[in-house]
């Protein structure tokens, strides 16, 4: 736990490291990224162990969602870094010759990454990749709710990365508050809207730009899928997209499903079948289901089912065990729309299915709720796909799958509206931690002499002509042949 004094010392060191200019070198940045990659490979067992202890994640899930995606992201950054770092020419009209224009990316300085508990390694290190690639010095504040992961980061990062430029500062909300009192050059925050507001408010004091990756209720519209093979695949993806991703504790996990009334029963049956095949008849004994992070969230989820009107809608699952923080993959059918389970982000393995008279009504239903980090649609109907894309808004949208957009390096990852703003992943990470500086270079040789006072009608005419690049007019006016 940091004392205010040691925090000051750390920040001073980070500022000094940035000021001395070493982080601007491509070689330094690549060394850090490679160091991170080595950390992930050499400490893999330790990471698996930490994720199992803190979240009950199986190695395959940990690799798929955290370690593997990080390695992929690092490789992508290493392969593209030189390109990202190079100046980009900005086109100028021909008349502007020999002026040249370009955009240069520069690091922002000392950045703060506030991570969270559901992907404690992934959501700490993915932003770090971008921050380092962009040449910043970094503080990561991991979540205290996943202490083993937090300690692992605190112990391993100093060994593999430049300790004077990257620091892990552990602790709870009070440490977070302390950190937020300081001036950062950028903050990337992943977490809840409630805390997001506090982060942005603190940032406003210092005019620190922020990226807020928040949550929301991600809808999955499930249309009738005629082909049975396709249907099977859709069911697999939905089940893994809900229960197989940190047991539903993910900002982009499916929160609720929308389906046509006439397809509801078949859907419940298909999902039930798939849940059993993925998690077994006794999911309590399954090694493939993450557990709920802590008692507080367990009770929160338990409370969602307390209302008898909601409890009556449970059509599958529903069992819970406070001792092991286990919540069974659960399906509900048509809970009341004003119940908490339909108004708050669930963030757990409870899946409400809402039935509609026609699948087109999904669009309206989704638009009544705040914009979510992601929206999903399973359909072969192209016009419904188009409507979903153009008539709903969400951070991202996936068609016939869920979650995987997270792994795409070329897609920006971020929210909109209540689910946040700003984005990262791939080159978007690089840009989010950079300032894009416009550079214009002029020569002393050429001049529009009529841009200087004293003003007169002639000059005004010339300026009008110049603005529309009407060279003939310019020549005529200069020769005195054209008058207003």
């Amino acid at each position: 736990m940091e004392s205010p004094k040691s925090l000051e010392k750390d920040l001073k060191e980070l500022r000094e490291s940035f000021r001395c200019g070493k982080t601007k070198e491509a070689a330094w940045r690549m060394r850090q990224l490679k160091g991170l990659s080595t950390l992930l490979k050499e400490k893999e067992e330790g990471i698996f162990d930490a994720l199992r202890r803190d979240m009950g994640k199986h190695k395959a899930e940990a690799y798929r969602d955290e370690i593997g995606t990080l390695i992929k992201s690092i490789n992508y950054a290493l392969a593209n870094l030189k390109g990202w770092m190079s100046a980009k020419k900005a086109p100028l009209p021909l008349g502007a010759f020999p002026t040249t224009a370009e955009v240069v990316s520069e690091p922002l300085g000392v950045v703060l990454i506030i991570s969270t508990w559901n992907f404690p390694i992934g959501l700490s290190l993915e932003p770090l990749i971008g921050a380092l690639a962009a040449g910043n010095t970094v503080v990561i504040k991991p979540s205290e709710l996943t202490p083993t992961c937090s300690s692992l980061l605190a112990n391993t990062i100093p060994i593999y990365l430049d300790n004077s430029a990257v620091k892990i500062i552990e602790g709870d909300a009070s440490v977070g508050e302390q950190l937020l009192r300081h001036k950062w050059d950028k903050i990337l925050f992943t977490g809840s809207a409630r805390v997001g507001r506090m982060v942005m408010l603190a940032a406003a004091e210092h005019l620190t730009p922020v990226t807020l990756e928040l949550g929301g209720k991600c809808p999955a519209v499930v249309d009738c899928i005629p082909n049975s093979r396709d249907r099977t695949m859709a069911m697999k993806r939905i089940v893994v997209g809900k229960y197989g991703t940190c047991a539903g504790q993910a900002c982009i996990a499916i929160d609720y499903i929308l389906v046509e009334k006439k397809n509801a029963a078949a859907l419940v049956e298909a999902l039930t079948f798939r849940i059993k095949s993925m998690f077994g008849d006794n999911p309590r004994a399954s090694n493939s289901l993450a557990r709920i992070v802590n008692r507080h969230h367990f009770l929160r989820l338990k409370n969602l089912l307390v209302d008898p009107k909601v409890q009556a809608c449970v059509v599958y699952g529903g069992s819970m065990d406070e001792n092991t923080l286990f919540v069974e993959p659960t399906i509900l059918l048509d809970p009341p729309h004003d119940a908490d389970i339909m108004t708050e982000e669930i963030f757990g393995p409870l899946l409400p299915i809402i039935t509609l008279n026609s699948i087109e009504e999904s669009i309206e239903f989704i638009n009544l709720k705040p914009k979510a980090p992601a929206a999903y649609i399973f359909t072969k109907n192209e016009s419904l796909m188009k409507r979903m894309i153009s008539e709903t808004s969400s951070g991202s949208l996936a068609i016939n799958d869920c979650i995987t957009q997270f792994a795409a390096d070329t897609l920006p990852f971020g929210g909109v509206g209540e689910s946040g703003f700003g984005r990262y992943h791939g080159k978007f990470s690089f840009h989010t931690f950079s300032h894009e500086k416009g550079i214009l270079r002029r020569s002393f040789l050429t001049e529009f002499w009529f841009r200087f006072p004293p003003w007169n009608n002639n000059k005004l005419l010339l300026l009008r002509a110049a603005y529309i690049f009407d060279y003939i007019a310019i020549v005529l006016i200069v020769l005195g042949l054209k008058k207003s």
Binding site: H58, K59, K72, S393, D401, E447
Partner: protein, 488 residues
């Protein structure tokens, strides 16, 4: 319809305006290409047809010379409209994104969608341009807009209210006039984006208000823009360009006007002499009577600038100018030499016709001077030396940098225009305006054709191997994994 009366536009009015505009947005009308084009064409028409009234309003508010007003406000606004009209179809098209093995088989694109209802809080020094330019971006991106022009330029503010009501779709574009009370009422609403141009101090207030609603913001703020002059440059050209950027730009009341100059002790006098010469060419030997200089906008700002001049240690540093006339709100182009760093003039953004020159022994010391202040919106360098240009670009952080000239980078639509650090966040101009007011939604299309069963529970060691191969192993690794073996 313009909501004009002071004191009657309160939180309730703001809330009901917001509701009305949200319904407008929800009809989807503003998303169509046709609607956007129609609004942009109307704005271009507005600026064209009503040029005389606009120039008159600008003269009333700022005593802005016609030529300057035409170039810096009318032409720039027209150019912005024209560019948007020309490029809109291209800007609106989804951007294809490559996909990789990690999501194979799939295709992806990035779709631009409007945020929704946006608030643009404009300012007084270029009241037409700095109101309409962001509005153009917001409309191009398909949003519904509320514009709050500055009360410090009241003639332009009411003209904008009147003209926008006449020319554009009132159900989607509105003007709210007023001052602090009206702005506060607006800031309490839940906007989908806020674009603010103004001071650093108010920028903080705007961002804090936005924080309550999790509204993303673009802040175009100010700072002290330095102009570094290397000895041995073409003195006349450099002097002219500095003067043009300072006094021919609303008489120094511009966020990107050179605030102060840094040059070597040996060169300073030569620069001052060159500037004195050119100042006379530009504004005559009695600049207080020149028609080509804007006045100081109002008595508040006049008092602010006078205070800077009156501070002890400052008035003795005046080497040129220094005349003032409170009644006519005029201050002559004034050059000062080596004003002490602790004075207000050297600490705060001047935003007026006072140009301090700070001398150093060696030019490279100028870098430290600049870095000791907060990051400016623009930084200027006059030099012929390649290595100085390189060092400047690499080491000086500013919103934008211009070598061998001042201010002009603002006119290049292919450069992002915005600040960094205390000079702001976010950028606009050209396509950057469209992007500033758009949410870039990632859309991933997945086929049912292929799938990696390795991603599904129940998890097994074999699946783990396969996942490793799939995500990072490449083709060879995948084959090995499928054969039940791994590389390491």
């Amino acid at each position: 319809m313009a909501e004009k009366l002071k004191g009657t536009f309160d939180v309730h009015k703001a809330a009901s305006l917001m509701n009305e505009l949200r319904s407008s947005f929800n009809t989807g009308r503003t998303r169509s290409y046709e609607w956007r084009v129609a609004q942009l064409q109307s704005i271009a028409k507005l600026v064209d047809e009503r040029e005389k009234e606009i120039l008159h309003a600008l003269y009333t508010d700022l005593s802005k010379p016609e030529c300057e007003a035409f170039v810096s406000e009318i032409s720039m606004t027209k150019a912005s409209c024209k560019l948007a009209l020309k490029e809109l179809k291209r800007w609106m098209k989804p951007e294809k994104a490559k996909t990789s093995m990690a999501t194979f088989p799939s295709s992806a694109e990035i779709v631009s969608e409007p945020f929704g209802v946006v608030l643009i809080i404009s300012t007084w020094n270029y009241p037409l341009l700095l109101s309409l330019d962001p509005v153009i971006g917001a409309i191009a991106a398909g949003n519904v807009v509320v514009l709050k022009p500055s009360e410090i330029s009241p003639a332009t503010s009411s003209l904008l209210a009147k003209l926008l009501e006449e020319y554009v779709d009132n159900s989607a574009i509105r003007v709210v006039e007023g001052a602090v009370a009206e702005t506060s009422a607006l800031l309490e609403q839940k906007w989908d984006k806020i674009f603010y141009i103004g001071s650093t101090r108010v920028g903080r207030i705007v961002m804090a208000a936005a924080a309550k609603q999790l509204t993303p913001v673009i802040l175009e703020l100010g700072g002290k823009c330095p102009a570094v002059v290397d000895p041995n440059v073409n003195l006349q050209v450099a002097a002219r360009r500095i003067i043009a950027g300072k006094w021919a730009c609303n008489n120094g009341q511009a966020c990107i006007a050179p605030d102060y100059v840094i040059t070597t002790k040996a060169f300073a006098q030569k620069l001052i002499d060159a500037m004195k010469n050119e100042l006379e060419v530009f504004f005559g030997n009695d600049p207080m009577e020149s028609k080509d200089l804007s006045r100081i906008v109002n008595s508040n700002h006049f008092a602010r600038l006078k205070k800077m001049l009156d501070e002890e240690e400052v008035s003795s540093k005046i080497v040129h100018g220094g005349q003032w006339d409170e009644k006519r709100l005029k201050i002559a182009p004034t050059i000062l030499l080596d004003v002490p760093e602790e004075t207000i003039l050297m600490k705060e953004e001047i935003f007026g016709p006072l140009l301090p020159i700070h001398t150093v022994d060696k030019l490279k010391e100028s870098f430290d001077v600049i870095k000791s202040k907060s990051k400016p919106l623009a930084a200027y360098l006059f030099t012929n030396r390649k290595e100085v240009k390189k060092a400047f670009v690499e080491n000086i952080s500013a919103g934008g940098i211009l070598i061998n000239d001042t201010v002009l980078h603002l006119t290049v639509p292919t450069l992002p225009f915005g600040g960094v650090g205390d000079s702001g966040m976010g950028s606009y101009h050209g396509k950057f305006s469209f992007d500033a007011f758009s949410h870039k939604k990632a859309v991933l299309y997945r086929s049912f054709a292929g799938d990696a069963t390795a991603r599904y529970p129940p998890y097994t060691p074999k699946k783990l191997r396969l996942l490793k191969a799939l995500i990072n192993g490449g083709i060879f690794g995948i084959i090995l994994a499928l054969l039940g073996r791994t590389k390491n």
